[in-house]
C-alpha cells in the first residue's frame, strides 16, 4: 500500500478563486492510502517545494499527488523536488485543476467537485505507479541544419565555433536564402550582401561545416542523440569537386531564356548557371528543364569550354546517409503569391510588383543594375504607391491570406520608401497602412525618419483597387483620417505581400515528427520559455520557420538555437524517457502485431527458451522493446492481442483506474 501525500496549490487566486481548496484537501485526505493532505498558496515556489519535501520526510510518503496547474508546466519541477527526498520522480502525479478546472468553470461548487474527482483519479493512478529508471543513450556529436539562409548559416557557425561538426542541407544550388536577395537592411541601411556574404564564406571555409547544397532531406530515422538522415544530393551535372566557379560555361551556354529566380523572374539566366556572384559553393548547376544537351542530346558547349572538365551529363541523384545528434529546422519563408490579389492588379498590370521584386529592382546586381525602372517600359517612376498588409491579418474566411501579421512589412516598406525618396527626390511616395507596427530597437525612429526627414506620405487607409490607366496605374484608396476616397495616378505600385513558411516545411516537419501550427509554422516547446526547441526531443528551430521575424531577431534566435544544440552535443550520454513500452514475455505469442505498428522500429523478436510442462524446454518467439529507441506512444499496447505489451507510466491498469475514479 502506498503512502500518498496530496498537495493542493492555490496558484494565488488562479485556483483558489474558483476552487474551494480547503474542501478539496479535506475530501482527498479521506481517500484510501492518503496519509497527508494540505493546501498552499504557491506549490511551485521554493517554500512550496520545501513544504512538500518536509511532508515526504515526516510522513514517509511513497507517492505524491499535486493538484495544480498543467503537468506541461510544472510536472518536472515537482518530480525533481520529490526525487531530492529519495522518492522516484515517476511516483509523482499532477491533477490539472487550473487549466482544466478553475480557469474554465465559474461556479465554485461545480469546480470544487471536479477538482476532487481529478484528484481522486490522480490518487488512483499513483497507487499503481512503479518507480521508473531512465536509461541512457550515446550522442552522435554532429548537428544537421536544414536550410541555408541567414538562420541556418548563423546556427551552423555558432555550433562549429563550439567545436562540433555541422552539416547544412540547402535545397537550392547556393546558401544565402532570402537575405541574399535583399538590397539594404533596416534600420541601419547597410547592404545585405555586405553583411551576409562574409558569413557565407565563413560557413563555406569552416572545416567543421559541410554544406550539401542542391540537396534535400529525404528521410529521418532515430531519436535525439542518434538521428539517421538520408540526404538526396540532386544531380547538378557538374562535378562540385572539379568546378572552379570561373563562370565561362554560364557565358557560353546558348540557352539564355530561363527566368532568373534570383531576380524574381524579372530577367533571364542561362541553362547552366551560378545563381549570383557570391554563391557558396560557387559551383555551376545545369537546369535540366532547359538544357538542350540533357533534353535532346545536342549541344555540349559547356563541356567543351570547361577547362576543369567538371561537366558530367550522366550525373545521377545520389542518396547519402549521415548520423546526427541534433537537427535544426531553418526552412525559412516565401512571400505569398500576389496573383490571387488581382484587385491590386498584380496578375494583369506589369507595374504592380511585390516588395521582394522591388528589392531586386533596387539592387545593383539586379535586372536594372540598381536603377529604379518600372518593368513595363523601363521608365523612371515618379509616383510610387506602397500597399501594406497584402494578405496579412486576414480572417480564415479569406483563403487568399494569412491570419497573422507578417511583422517585417512595416519596416521594409518604410525602408523602401525612404531609399526611393533619398535616391530620387523627384518621386512622390505614398504608403497606405492599417497600422504602422514598429516594435524594435530604433524601429519607430526609422519610420518617423521616413515621414519627417524624407517626406513619405503615410496615409491611414487601404487600397481597394488598382487598374491600368493608359501608361499609368489608377490607385483607388481610402484616406480614413480625411474621410476621402483617393484616386492616385501612380507609375509603380508595390505590394507588401504576407510571408508564409516554405512549402517544404510541412513534409520536413512530418519527417522530424515535429509539430506545426495551422499556418505551417513549427511549434515551439513552450511559447515563452522554450522558444527555440520543438516539442520533439532533439529538434530545434531557427528563424522564420517558427514565426515571422526580421533579420536581427532571426540571428538572435539562430544563436539561441545553436546554444541549445550545443547543450545536446556536449553531453556524452542522454537520459531517455522511461515511459516506454515493455513486453511480458510470458504472455507474448510472437505474432508481430506490435512490430508492425511501431513507427520507430523499436521492437524486435528473438527466440527464447522457456520452461515447458514436465521439465521440457520450449523455444518461443517473443518481442522485446529497445528502451532507447521507443518513444512511448503506446500504439503497440493496443495492437497486442494477448495483452503482453504495456506502457510504463501509462499502463492499462493505471488508465483504467483513472477511468474508474472519474466515472465513480
Amino acid at each position: 500500500m502506498q503512502r500518498i501525500g496530496v498537495f493542493i496549490c492555490h496558484c494565488g487566486t488562479n485556483i483558489a478563486g474558483t476552487v474551494d481548496v480547503k474542501a478539496v484537501a479535506e475530501a482527498l485526505g479521506h481517500e484510501a492510502g492518503v496519509v497527508f493532505s494540505t493546501e498552499y498558496q504557491y506549490m511551485c515556489s521554493e517554500s512550496g517545494q520545501q513544504l512538500m519535501r518536509k511532508a515526504i520526510r515526516e510522513h514517509k510518503l511513497t507517492g505524491v499527488v499535486v493538484c495544480s496547474c498543467s503537468p506541461r508546466m510544472h510536472e518536472a519541477t515537482f518530480r525533481k523536488a520529490a526525487s531530492l527526498e529519495g522518492i522516484n520522480p515517476y511516483m509523482v502525479e499532477i491533477a490539472n485543476i487550473r487549466e482544466h478546472v478553475s480557469w474554465i468553470h465559474k461556479d465554485m461548487k461545480e469546480a470544487t467537485e471536479k477538482a476532487i474527482i481529478l484528484g481522486r483519479a490522480a490518487i488512483a493512478k499513483v497507487h499503481l505507479n512503479q518507480p521508473l529508471q531512465a536509461g541512457e543513450s550515446p550522442v552522435t556529436k554532429r548537428a544537421l541544419v536544414i536550410g541555408g539562409g541567414i538562420a541556418g548559416i548563423q546556427t551552423a557557425l555558432d555550433i562549429a565555433e563550439a567545436g562540433f561538426e555541422v552539416d547544412i542541407v540547402e535545397k537550392s544550388p547556393t546558401i544565402g536564402g532570402k537575405m541574399a536577395q535583399l538590397d539594404k537592411t533596416f534600420p541601419t541601411l547597410d547592404c545585405a550582401a555586405c553583411i551576409l556574404t562574409p558569413k557565407m564564406v565563413d560557413a563555406g571555409q569552416n572545416e567543421k561545416i559541410k554544406i550539401f547544397a542542391y540537396s534535400e532531406v529525404e528521410a529521418v530515422k532515430g531519436y535525439v542523440g542518434n538521428f539517421n538522415v538520408s540526404i538526396r544530393r540532386k544531380a547538378r551535372y557538374v562535378d562540385e569537386t572539379k568546378c572552379t566557379g570561373c563562370g565561362l560555361c554560364t557565358e557560353k551556354c546558348p540557352q539564355k531564356k530561363v527566368p532568373n529566380e534570383f531576380n524574381m523572374g524579372m530577367n533571364n539566366r542561362h541553362a547552366i548557371y551560378i545563381p549570383f556572384a557570391q554563391a557558396v559553393p560557387k559551383v555551376a548547376t545545369i537546369d535540366a528543364d532547359y538544357c538542350m544537351m540533357l533534353k535532346t542530346g545536342k549541344c555540349g558547349i559547356c563541356s567543351k569550354v570547361c577547362g576543369a572538365g567538371a561537366i558530367d551529363y550522366k550525373q545521377q541523384d545520389e542518396v547519402i546517409e549521415r548520423q546526427y545528434g541534433a537537427i535544426v529546422a531553418a526552412t525559412g519563408f516565401n512571400p505569398i503569391d500576389a496573383k490571387a490579389y488581382n484587385e491590386y492588379g498584380y496578375a494583369t498590370c506589369p507595374d504592380v510588383v511585390t516588395s521582394l521584386e522591388l528589392e531586386r529592382l533596387m539592387n545593383a546586381a539586379g535586372p536594372t543594375n540598381g536603377t529604379l525602372l518600372r518593368p513595363s517600359d523601363n521608365e523612371h517612376p515618379h509616383t510610387v504607391v506602397f500597399v501594406q498588409c497584402v494578405g496579412s491579418r486576414c480572417t480564415e474566411t479569406d483563403e487568399r491570406g494569412k491570419p497573422y501579421c507578417s511583422k517585417i512589412c512595416c519596416m521594409y516598406t518604410a525602408k523602401h520608401a525612404m531609399l526611393i525618396r533619398e535616391k530620387y527626390p523627384d518621386t512622390d511616395v505614398y504608403v497606405f497602412y492599417i497600422d504602422v507596427r514598429t516594435p524594435g530597437k530604433n524601429f519607430d525612429e526609422f519610420y518617423r525618419r521616413a515621414v519627417e526627414q524624407y517626406g513619405v506620405h503615410y496615409i491611414k487607409g487601404m487600397v481597394g483597387k488598382v487598374t491600368q490607366n493608359g501608361k499609368q496605374l489608377r490607385v483607388q484608396a481610402s484616406d480614413l483620417l480625411a474621410g476621402e476616397q483617393l484616386h492616385i495616378d501612380a507609375d509603380l505600385v508595390v505590394l507588401a505581400t504576407a510571408i508564409e513558411p516554405d512549402k517544404t516545411a510541412r513534409s520536413i516537419a512530418t519527417m522530424l515528427t515535429a509539430s506545426m501550427d495551422t499556418n505551417d509554422f513549427f511549434t515551439e516547446a513552450h511559447p515563452k520559455l522554450r522558444p527555440v526547441e520543438s516539442p520533439t526531443a532533439g529538434i530545434f528551430l531557427s528563424g522564420v520557420c517558427q514565426g515571422p521575424k526580421d533579420i536581427p531577431e532571426t540571428v538572435s534566435q539562430a544563436s539561441a538555437c545553436a546554444a541549445k544544440v550545443i547543450g545536446v552535443l556536449a553531453k556524452d550520454k542522454l537520459t531517455c524517457n522511461p515511459c516506454v513500452a515493455q513486453s511480458d514475455e510470458m504472455l507474448c505469442n510472437g505474432c508481430s502485431s506490435c512490430e508492425k505498428v511501431c513507427p520507430y522500429g523499436a521492437i524486435s523478436y528473438s527466440d527464447k527458451e522457456f520452461r515447458g510442462p514436465n521439465r521440457t524446454t520450449l523455444i518461443r518467439r517473443v518481442a522485446s522493446v529497445n528502451p532507447a529507441v521507443c518513444q512511448g506512444c503506446g500504439a503497440c499496447t493496443v495492437a497486442c492481442p494477448s495483452g503482453a505489451m504495456d506502457l510504463k507510466g501509462f499502463s492499462n491498469k493505471q488508465i483504467m483506474a483513472e477511468v474508474d475514479a472519474i466515472c465513480q
Partner: protein
C-alpha cells in the same frame, strides 16, 4: 438608449454580420463605387453599428446609395460583409409603416422604353416593403 440597443440587435441579427471582426483598414470604403454619393461610408456603417449609433445611419440617405455590387464583401480581409450591414439598416427603416423609399406612384415618371423589368423589380425590392 434601450431603443437604440434593440435596433442594434435587430441590425446585427438581420445582417448576420459580426462587426467586431473589423480591423478598421478601410478597404471596403476604398473599393466602394458609391463613395461619392454616401454620407456614411461602408466602414462607418460597420463601426457605427458596433457603437450602437443606428439612428444616424437610419436617417442618412446613404442607405439608398449602396449598389449591392458585393465588392466590399469580397475584398474585406476580415470577412465582415459591410453590404449586409447597409442592407439591414435600410430594411429596418423601410419595414416601418409609411417608410417606403420608392412608391408605386413614382414609377411612371421613371420609365423609358428600353428599361428592363428587372430594374423596376429590383428597385421595388430594394426600396420598399
Amino acid at each position: 438608449m434601450s431603443h437604440s440597443n434593440n435596433a442594434t440587435e435587430q441590425v446585427l441579427r438581420s445582417s448576420g454580420v459580426d462587426v467586431r471582426k473589423c480591423m478598421r483598414c478601410g478597404k471596403c470604403t476604398a473599393t466602394c463605387p458609391a463613395f461619392d454619393e454616401m454620407e456614411y461610408h461602408p466602414h462607418q456603417f460597420v463601426y457605427m453599428v458596433e457603437k450602437g449609433e443606428i439612428e444616424k445611419l437610419a436617417a442618412s440617405p446613404s442607405i439608398y446609395k449602396c449598389l449591392s455590387c458585393f465588392a466590399c464583401v469580397d475584398r474585406c480581409p476580415r470577412g465582415v460583409e459591410p453590404a449586409k450591414v447597409v442592407e439591414a439598416v435600410r430594411l429596418a427603416v423601410i419595414r416601418q409603416q409609411g417608410q417606403n423609399h420608392m412608391k408605386s406612384d413614382d414609377i411612371p415618371a421613371l420609365l423609358d422604353e428600353d428599361m428592363p423589368q428587372q430594374l423596376l423589380v429590383s428597385a421595388m425590392r430594394k426600396y420598399s416593403k
